[in-house]
């Protein structure tokens, strides 16, 4: 019984971690970036201000061109300051770029 419980807890926490990585990756997971401070701020805006009305949406579940349409609308909904809007826009951009370049890179084992 104890074992089942432990396994359950472990898997929940693993799933939990995986989630926070893929919904809105931490800056360290984006590879080398030049504007880490700004991206940190963008991520903070994304996971708090952008989850006021709905849960934070997995950034890579939306294509770049869809984001171009949705993001300005959502920034307006959120009544963000100009600097927060810029930070969150850069962060989303960086996540999309990182995932695009990861997809473009052939895996090393091949």
């Amino acid at each position: 019984m104890k074992r089942i419980l432990l396994t359950l807890m472990a898997s929940i926490s693993i799933i939990g971690c995986m989630d926070s990585i893929s919904v809105a990756p931490k800056i360290a997971e984006l590879g080398t970036v030049s504007n880490a401070m700004q991206l940190e701020r963008g991520r903070a805006v994304y996971i708090t201000s952008c989850s006021r009305c709905h849960n934070a949406i997995r950034i890579t579940s939306i294509t770049k061109s869809e984001w171009d349409g949705i993001l300005p609308e959502m920034i307006e909904e959120s009544e963000l300051t100009i600097s927060d809007s810029m930070a969150v826009t850069e962060y989303i951009q960086a996540v999309l770029n990182a995932s695009a370049s990861a997809a473009a890179q052939p895996s090393k084992s091949e």
Partner: protein, 250 residues
């Protein structure tokens, strides 16, 4: 007449409103830890229907609450319930009663996100003819991608009767689990477990109710609805309760 004025004011506000931050509630029986942004207002309407008491086959009750919420700061929210009233039908009579007015304060201790649990503290005072109630609540909220979990623990002290001589305590635990298939909509389940302590010296029955919930929002208004079915066997408590909440932001 005054009700007409009230409705016109509401409609007017609805039309002239600027873009705003909804603080939609996905679970009518459980509070969440998000508070409104500074300077935001919201009107919230509660309608609760209770029926099916085993000890009174004719029991039916409608409860209405009109509430105005205000974001004082980004973390502190005040609310005024400017009327709580009921239409209650029992085997003996049918009557409409004005129950109370109430003042509520919610303080967000920690903002919920995928990185951390949301925490809020809630206090409320209700006052009416022959009625006084104090309520304290601790609210926890977890966010996992499309799933949210809410937990509230509530302690209540109530004084009722001619000279407020009848007292009782109440302890309530409530849970909600919701799934958001798309940003404007959630499905979920909710459960409420209540226990009363009449005169603070005896222990009442456990009453547990559970049921599904649904919520929908757009940028200016939202609603959530949930029926709760009693799964314990307490004759003096309704077996079915349905609550509809809707909010308009301005």
């Amino acid at each position: 007449m005054s009700y007409k004025i009230f409705l016109s004011v509401l409609c007017a506000l609805f039309i002239v409103q600027s873009p705003c931050i909804a603080t939609s509630r996905t679970s009518p029986w459980v509070y969440h830890s998000r508070t409104m942004m500074e300077g935001e207002f919201e009107y919230e309407q509660w309608v609760t229907f209770k029926t099916d008491k085993k000890n009174d086959s004719e029991y039916n009750e409608w409860r209405f609450r009109h509430e105005l919420e205000w974001g004082v700061t980004d973390r502190l929210q005040l609310a005024l319930y400017f009327a709580d009233w009921r239409i209650k039908q029992t085997s003996e009579q049918e009557k409409i009663t004005f129950r109370d007015v109430a003042l509520e304060a919610v303080y967000q201790v920690q903002t919920p996100s995928i990185d951390q649990v949301g925490i809020a503290m809630y206090g409320e005072i209700k006052y009416g003819p022959e009625f006084l109630e104090l309520e304290g609540k601790c609210i926890l909220e977890w966010e996992f991608e499309q799933v949210s979990v809410l937990y509230n623990v509530t302690v209540e002290a109530e004084w009722e009767g001619d000279d407020l001589s009848e007292t009782k305590g109440k302890l309530e635990n409530s849970f909600s689990l919701t799934y958001q298939p798309e940003p404007s909509m959630t499905w979920g389940v909710q459960a409420v477990w209540e226990k009363e302590f009449p005169e603070w010296n005896s222990i009442g029955n456990d009453v547990v109710s559970i049921g599904p919930s649904f919520s929908w929002q757009n940028s200016n208004w939202w609603f959530s609805i949930s029926p709760l079915f009693q799964i314990t066997d307490v004759d003096s408590e309704p077996d079915l309760q349905v609550r509809l909440l809707f909010g308009i932001d301005f």
